[in-house]
């Protein structure tokens, strides 16, 4: 009996050893020869593995060390630390900056290499020559206060409306693309349309807390990006002039959102929470404001709803949520800057952006693609064959440049909190005072943005 036990043990040992060898083997074979390794700090899916592989094949010897973090730690803390210790040159050679942070980083041109000073090995082009390739307002997100070009845009988060046509049809409402776009052409009409949908919900559907829109708070963000000014005004100074309390666009967006909250058209689930993903699968809401990159997210989260979605134009025309710039921090290795620029400018070139759109739905920032038949003619079967390429390219061209400032995110946070407080009070059927909440937000912001 003892011998069988020993035999069993030896067998197990042999099996696990062979498993180890099998796992270890390919890694040792794959050891590549790196003449240069670019250190990249990134988040989410900014760097697509297939494009990286393609670049490696075209440029043997270049290797990548890509570190992915969550967005806020990356742009909010790690890059600040890296820049404060820039002289050690141990930071990243390339770093991805999300659009929410562009206002912040535009205040610190000393943290980045001016991309106008680097010349591409292949054709000697710098960011100055490449500027005309990009959507002007999107290019501006990567221009610092002093005019330095600190980043080039990879994608634009063009914002439109994704909706479940089957749910609208079941309620006898317009459900065809053009008809929906027309029915919700302005924000007040959008809210009315939502009310009609809510009125037709059955009792059991109401008990399941079904609603028209995923989260009515999203209306605020969409509306403030449709103007020409947000929290700051360009007064010629580097910091800009704070106008958040007087800008009518902000107040209007706030009041419209309060109206939508009062109308109860949202389901009150927080975006990117688990409730939200499940709600998407179960048709808990008929509509959501969807940036281009979210199409891929919907496909992954709610694959069973294929063909039941469609895309319509956002009320007010055009919108943006998200998008990324690639930068070359001064904290990186100075000897790698040339290689970093060669790669960066290749990665955001039209051909690569086209690939990223056709495979992952990340919408391009290069204007030539908005006339490219492969992009404009791109229909997505998941979204009922909607011409997503055409819809999104028309939308992003409607937007105007907005002066972004250092405290944009802090201001967003305070006004967003005011809206959530109202939302909670409404859901508990308690009285609320929108003006008081607005004033609280203004007081809090005044403490922060000086």
């Amino acid at each position: 009996m003892i011998t069988t036990k020993i035999r069993a043990f030896l067998l197990a040992l042999a099996l696990s050893l062979s498993a180890l060898i099998a796992v270890g083997a390919p890694a040792s074979v794959q050891a590549e020869e790196c003449t240069k390794t670019l250190k990249i700090w990134s988040f989410g899916d900014v760097f697509l593995p297939r494009l990286i592989l393609q670049y490696k094949q075209q440029n043997p010897g270049i290797c990548f060390d890509i570190k992915k973090s969550d967005l806020d730690p990356l742009n909010g803390t790690q890059m600040i630390t890296a820049c404060a210790a820039a002289n050690s040159h141990t930071g990243p050679d390339i770093a991805a900056v999300e659009i929410q942070y562009s206002g912040y980083w535009r205040a610190y041109p000393q943290c980045f290499v001016d991309l106008r000073t680097l010349k591409r090995t292949s054709d000697g082009k710098s960011a100055k020559e490449l500027k005309s390739l990009y959507l002007p307002w999107r290019f501006d997100n990567g221009v610092a206060y002093n005019g330095n070009v600190i980043g080039l845009p990879t994608d634009v988060g063009g914002l439109e409306v994704a909706y479940r046509w089957d749910l609208l049809k079941a309620k006898g409402l317009p459900y065809k693309r053009a008809a929906v776009s027309k029915a919700i052409s302005t924000w007040p009409k959008f809210i009315d349309f939502g009310k009609q949908y809510m009125a037709k919900l059955t009792k059991s559907e109401k008990a399941l807390k079904m609603g028209f829109l995923d989260n009515a708070g999203a209306i605020y963000t969409a509306m403030i990006n449709q103007g020409t000014k947000k929290y700051y005004e360009n007064n010629g100074t580097a910091a800009g002039k704070l106008i958040y309390s007087t800008n009518p666009t902000i107040k209007k967006a706030y009041n419209t959102t309060v109206t939508a909250l009062k109308a109860g058209i949202g389901t009150r689930v927080a975006q990117f929470s688990s409730d939200w993903s499940v709600g998407m699968q179960k048709g808990k809401f008929a509509m959501m404001l969807a940036p281009a990159w979210m199409m891929d997210y919907i496909k992954q989260q709610a694959s069973a709803t294929k063909g039941k979605w469609d895309i319509a134009n956002i009320p007010g025309g055009g919108g943006n949520q998200g998008g990324t710039q690639l930068t070359i921090p001064t904290a990186g290795n100075p000897l790698n800057r040339q290689a970093a620029w060669d790669f960066l400018s290749w990665y955001v070139a039209p051909e690569q952006q086209k690939f990223a759109f056709l495979t992952y739905g990340m919408f391009p920032t290069t204007v030539s693609l908005y006339k490219d038949p492969e992009v404009t003619g791109f229909n997505d079967p998941f979204f009922n064959n909607a011409p997503v390429g055409k819809i999104y390219s028309e939308g992003v061209q409607k937007l105007k440049p907005i002066f972004a400032g250092k405290y944009d995110r802090a201001i967003d946070k305070e006004i967003g909190a005011a809206l959530t407080r109202i939302d909670v009070l409404i859901s508990k059927k308690k009285a609320f005072n929108a003006l008081n909440e607005w004033k609280t937000a203004m007081t809090n912001i005044a403490k922060i943005a000086k």
Partner: protein
């Protein structure tokens, strides 16, 4: 002062040192035989690392607490005196953070203590089979990444499709919003903390229980004490010091709660700041509101609170120790 005296002064300490060294080498062996300078060298790695990563940041933090500070822009580094502290004292958000921190601390520490002592008494039972397996299992939550814990519990506590609300709904109650409501939110965070730490603390209590001399239990059983009475009059009094230790460590941990509220409520700790703990408030001010000097002032305020609590703890511990005698 004569030359002679000078000579004597400079020599005397050396003589003393030499003599003490002699006595050490003659009487002690092993690690004790090392003379003074070697000991400094061998312990230096800790002190060097502490100077770089401990003391230097603390001094830097005290320094910038008196400034309006931007680490990346020297032109935005302005001396403001005690303005940051004055502002902090008047800032209602700071007091909300203090309230939240202590509320979460109370919800997590007190139930955890009862749970940990309960689990330890079960594990202490000699009839229990495979004791090592149980003890090891208890430690697994402790080595799980706090971020993963927060994400998974965030799903369990979801308002619409969370499994906890599913059972609450089944039993006929109104669904609880663990994110937007203050007290349920604090309970949700306390549950995450308890889940991570209760196993670890059970082992601490178990170790303390195993150290209680068996004679005490034997005499208790001879006197005819019931199990409950044995626990109350024999086990618990012997755990006094361990409970104090648990409370001190729990308080320090309670003042550092950060990742769980960040995941549930974002940097501001929710719309009503219901999750804004002290450390999260510091993070929000420094990194989101770009107000580093103010953040540093909050850091010092946390240190001050820790000092107060430590002092209270110190006196309680002393009282317990003296009552033992």
């Amino acid at each position: 002062m004569s030359v002679d005296q000078k000579e004597q002064r400079s020599k005397s300490p050396r003589v003393m040192f030499r003599s003490s060294k002699k006595s050490e080498t003659s009487t002690q062996v092993g690690i004790y035989s090392l003379n003074g300078s070697w000991a400094y060298l061998l312990t230096s790695p800790f002190f060097i690392l502490f100077l770089i990563f401990g003391l230097a940041p603390i001094i830097y933090c005290i320094y910038i607490a008196f400034y309006q500070w931007d680490p990346l822009d020297p032109s935005m580094q302005v001396y403001v005196g005690v303005d940051n502290f004055r502002e902090l004292w008047a800032d209602s958000n700071f007091w909300i953070a203090v309230r939240n921190t202590f509320s979460i601390w109370a919800f997590s520490t007190i139930p955890q203590m009862f749970l940990a002592i309960g689990i330890a008494s079960i594990l202490r039972n000699p009839v229990l089979r495979a004791a090592t397996v149980w003890r090891t299992l208890l430690l697994i939550p402790n080595i799980t990444s706090v971020l993963a814990v927060a994400l998974v519990f965030g799903q369990l506590f979801g308002r619409e499709y969370g499994i906890i609300n599913y059972f609450i709904g089944l039993s006929g109650f109104e669904r609880v919003d663990f994110v937007e409501d203050t007290i349920p939110g604090h309970i949700a965070i306390a549950v995450m903390i308890i889940w991570r730490w209760v196993g670890y603390n059970s082992l601490i209590f178990l170790a303390a229980m195993l150290a209680i001399p068996n004679e005490l239990y034997e005499s208790a059983s001879i006197d005819g004490a019931s199990k409950w009475k044995t626990f109350w009059y024999v086990t618990l009094p012997q755990l006094k010091n361990t409970i104090t230790f648990f409370l001190i460590v729990g308080t320090i941990g309670g003042l550092q709660v950060f990742a769980e509220p960040l995941i549930l409520g974002g940097a501001a700790g929710g719309a009503n700041r219901q999750f804004s703990t002290l450390t999260l408030f510091l993070f929000e001010q420094a990194f989101i509101n770009v107000n580093w000097g103010y953040g540093a002032a909050i850091g010092l305020a946390i240190t001050f609170i820790v000092l107060i609590i430590s002092t209270i703890n110190y006196f309680i511990t002393r009282r317990i120790a003296s009552s033992d005698n």
